[in-house]
Symmetry: C2
Subunit: 189 residues, 2 copies
DNA sequence: TCAGCTATCGTTAGTAC
DNA sequence: AGTACTAACGATAGCTG
């Protein structure tokens, strides 16, 4: 989009790809925030950077608390205006039933793709999880993760601990680490 | 960004705001996909449109399966090139230990904000969950959801079933439905 | 590696239908 | 409401220090 038009394919050169990622990530996050302000929509973008296994950038944590604080500071009158009464809610539930039915179709399709995802997690480094998919995968991942963690612990006994990392962090490994662990497990079996 | 520069504030006119939302949402999703392709990062954007309480737009479900299918269709040689061997993985783990330590700090901070979120879920309709936050919330939500579901079932007995929705969908309610249910529960207690 | 710098490109606000 | 158009604007690829 600048001095030269680039083709929409994986950038091979490492430096160029990382520069692009940094620039575009910044631009993307800006646009997410702008949209949230301009149109008052809850919006969130998540980008997992490779080789940077931190939970990652997301315009959410600060933004979330800000939005929630705004709601909290609303007057009680404003709040009650936003709250529907009991009867209204029941009627709304009826009107929404057909919506629900459509939604279950979506859930069904998601379960299918979830099965595919789970299959690939064990052997690939390429992952793209949506919020919904993550939710349904969490339980299954936790089971898988336990077995993998045991394997990791076994392997830990085979290598010396590095000088600057004497802290034993292995008793509490977060979900986002499991991708590495699984690759490790996959490579050893 | 066009005929006239607009100030970064909530757009008051309903038609103009909706038009902007539609255009920018499209552009945003395009950029998310581009970034995923150009830099091979897992990326995801979620936008909740007002008055449209459906699970919402996300460039993930089709994209996920597409990306994974691409990976599957890679030759076995290409796959093995992407796989690291056992020893390399162990060395990589050592190098990444300090990364992990930093990560646990972040997790701690996230737990704090999660507590705030959970508090607000019960009483507000304003939600903005990141992937990580959703992951950690799922377990707690499932407990909450069970209690809410029982309440819903009680209420179901007080209203007649609508003609076009005779399907009993209440035995299998997805996570994304719980927001409504909780509002309902909150309004009735 | 990182932070400017711009030419150039992509996005989009307003408009017309 | 939706599409099509286009002038203007913002984002950014490649460069430089």
């Amino acid at each position: 989009m600048a001095r030269k038009k680039i083709k929409l394919v994986w950038i091979n050169e490492d430096a160029r790809r990382r520069a692009t990622l940094k620039k575009r990530r910044k631009g993307l996050m800006k646009k997410v925030k702008e949209l949230a302000i301009l149109c008052d929509v809850r919006s969130c973008a998540i980008i997992y950077c490779p080789h940077d296994p931190k939970p990652e950038v997301c315009p959410a944590i600060e933004e979330t608390t800000r939005v929630l604080n705004d709601f909290r500071s609303l007057s009680e009158m404003e709040k009650s205006k936003k709250m529907m009464n009991h009867a209204a809610f029941l009627q709304q539930r009826i009107a929404k039933r057909h919506e629900h039915i459509r939604q279950y179709d979506l859930e069904k399709r998601q379960l299918e793709s979830t099965a595919l995802l789970l299959e690939c997690i064990a052997g690939s480094s390429i992952l793209l999880l949506s919020t919904e998919e993550l939710g349904s995968l969490t339980v299954q991942l936790n089971h898988k993760a336990k077995a993998v963690q045991e394997r990791i612990n076994e392997l830990q006994n085979l290598i010396p601990a590095p000088p600057q990392a004497s802290v034993d962090e292995d008793h509490n490994v977060g979900l986002h680490n499991y991708y590495e662990e699984m690759q490790c497990s996959a490579a050893t079996t």
